[in-house]
């Protein structure tokens, strides 16, 4: 008998094994839904799949009676736009401060304690303060995302900059580079793919803050819709919205990774040498 630790599934086994938990969850849901609907045909908790599909069709393909919009798509567009703005702004700030803090010891001494402190403040706790400072418009939602992800991005990137072998910075100087040139040609280009990695990690929290912000102040958006129908326990809308958000999150992550692999072959080439897990 081969030891468990040495047994590797082939493609087919991997597929089957991977699909199992999903099938299990789906099966459990169907069973539970059936049970509850038999007891109470108006039950809202676990709507039948047919009901969910109806609702989604209505949200995606019928213009809303109130505004004439196709709700699913306007919600998605609004949320993605906020997410994109927030994450881009966060990434930019993270990049600038990360590089400055990582490359210039004086700047590190200056900003790093503040960044550490800010990164420890749970943004949810200062939500009320944020809304008061930034109002309730689009700005506030974007700012919540920025505040939520930027301290971590800065700390991440400054660490990545510090991890660039000192040999390279010395080497650049022996080739005649000044501080600015070293940053522009040695540090920045090496940090870019790492920025993308960090951004991918930050997307999880970004979605969280987006939804929290939309729950409090918005008139459209995925989080808004979930929040709105939550009062009526409209699980036929909530569940597919959650699935949809998950799908969007997955696609975003996938796209970012693909982009990174295309633009920075040297970065991924390097990790190709070590076996990379496909978790």
């Amino acid at each position: 008998m081969t030891k468990l630790i040495n047994r590797r599934p082939d493609r087919l086994q991997r597929l089957v094994l991977g699909a199992l938990p999903f099938l299990l969850v789906a099966g459990l849901y169907l069973w539970g839904s059936e049970q509850r609907l038999q007891a109470n045909p108006n039950d809202k908790l676990l709507p039948a799949p047919s009901k969910i599909i109806d609702t989604m069709e209505r949200l995606a393909f019928e213009p809303s009676k109130r505004s004439g919009d196709y709700l699913l798509w306007t919600d998605t567009a609004a949320s993605l736009q906020r997410l994109a703005l927030g994450v881009s702004a966060g990434a930019l700030i993270g990049l600038v401060f990360g590089i400055v803090n990582g490359a210039i010891p004086l700047a590190h001494a200056n900003f790093s304690p503040m960044v550490t402190t800010v990164s420890l403040i749970p943004p949810m706790a200062i939500l009320p303060v944020l809304f008061i400072i930034f109002g309730l418009g689009e700005l506030a939602k974007v700012v919540l995302i920025v505040i939520g992800i930027t301290p971590v991005l800065i700390r991440d990137l400054q660490q990545r900059v510090i991890e660039i072998p000192r040999e390279q910075l010395i080497k650049a100087q022996t080739l005649g580079a000044n501080t600015w040139q070293t940053i522009a040609r040695v540090i920045l280009p090496q940090i870019m793919p790492r920025l993308l990695d960090s951004v991918r990690l930050a997307l999880g929290p970004a979605w969280l803050f987006l939804i929290a912000a939309e729950a409090i102040a918005a008139t459209e958006g995925l989080g808004y819709r979930i929040f709105l129908v939550r009062r009526y326990l409209a699980m036929d809308t909530i569940l597919p919205y959650v699935v949809w958000i998950t799908l969007l999150a997955f696609s975003l992550d996938w796209i970012l990774r693909a982009v990174s692999q295309r633009i920075w072959p040297w970065y991924h080439g390097k990790s190709r040498q070590q076996p990379v897990a496909t978790s």
């Binding site: 109130r66 009320p128 109002g135 309730l136 729950a215 709105l228 009062r231 326990l233």
Partner: protein, 331 residues
């Protein structure tokens, strides 16, 4: 020290008595009245009710929809002199106490009660307990966000809730739920208002006139028993996440003042003064007036029937002035 301006913004949040503002904004009625007085009024929806009041208190909006109690405890207690420009309705069954598996209010003794702490629900509970000879010490109040009350109620943990519509009707519709006390037992005590900054109003009477004018035109449309009225109510139902039937059910437990004269009568009656006395007492007991408050009269409230509390620190004013103009057709 507020200046004369031509641009204003007011905010509102989703609630049966405030949906007309959305309708007025979407249908152009508000713009029509603003144009008439040569000003601009932005009507902004805010999801989170408390956040909308906070925003108003912080000075980001010139007016905001809120209840009488919150008007006292948030802007007025925060030193922002506020005037109840439009008294739209009072809750007449729209807020209620619901028990699971029990059928009279006295059974609430010893239970956990889920409600939005320090809100009108809390006030309603206090008044209810009083009516059956209990006090707040006999129950445990669990602060629960309004959006989550319905899903929370489906769990076994939750046996007693106090809430408002539309959540209330969702909860009452669930099995084994009995409404045991509601705002129709204390009529006229939970009042839904459009509150505006007093100084802004003083400096810009046009702002008040336009808002009040728009409001009563909306009321005329929505109160009518015709196709246009039905369309308006359907719109409001949809916007609040339900449908015509659901919205009309909520209206049924709301005493809307469709006519300005009704509202004027309500404001000038001595009952309002009594009510606000209760509310101030409740707020003080719960620390809502702030640590600086020595007694329930710390924040003065002006009603046509007289001032309650400190007349040197009047921060909340009920004035029938603009509604009376509407009643007299002078807008």
């Amino acid at each position: 020290h507020a200046d004369e301006r031509s641009k204003f913004s007011v905010c509102w949040s989703i609630y049966v008595g405030w949906m007309p503002w959305d309708y007025g904004a979407q249908s152009g009625i508000v713009k029509k009245w603003a144009d008439k007085y040569g000003i601009e009024i932005d009507v902004v929806q805010i999801n989170d009710y408390i956040e909308s009041i906070n925003q108003y208190t912080a000075g980001k909006y010139d007016g905001c929809t809120m209840t009488n109690m919150d008007a006292l405890t948030i802007p007025a207690a925060g030193g922002v002199d506020s005037t109840a420009l439009v008294v739209g309705d009072f809750s007449n069954g729209n807020d209620g106490v619901v028990l699971k598996g029990k059928n009279k209010l006295a059974d609430i003794k010893g239970q956990n009660v889920n409600l939005v702490e320090l809100s009108v629900s809390h006030y309603l509970l206090a008044r209810g307990l009083e009516s059956v000879g209990l006090s707040e010490k006999d129950v445990t109040v669990v602060n629960t966000s309004d959006a989550d009350l319905v899903s929370a109620y489906t769990t076994d943990d939750v046996t007693a809730v106090v809430t408002w519509n539309p959540l209330l009707s969702e909860i009452v519709a669930m099995p084994a739920s009995t409404p045991v006390f509601d705002s129709s037992n204390i009529p006229g005590e939970i009042i839904d208002l459009m509150v505006v900054n007093t100084e802004t109003l003083k400096a810009n009477p046009k702002f008040g006139k336009a808002l009040v004018g728009a409001w009563y035109e909306i009321m005329a449309v929505m109160g009518a028993d015709n196709a246009a009225g039905k369309a308006a109510r359907t719109f409001m139902g949809k916007a609040s996440g339900t449908d015509l039937a659901g919205y009309e059910a909520q209206l049924a437990s709301t005493k809307m003042f469709y006519q300005p004269a009704q509202a004027v009568d309500f404001v000038v009656s001595a009952d309002l003064k009594t009510t606000m006395g209760y509310v101030a007492e409740f707020s003080f007991e719960h620390g809502l007036l702030g640590e600086g408050a020595a007694d329930a009269g710390f924040v003065g409230i002006e009603t046509p029937a007289g001032i309650i509390g400190d007349s040197d620190n009047v921060k909340l004013r009920f004035s029938p002035k603009y509604m009376r103009m509407a009643a007299e057709g002078k807008l």
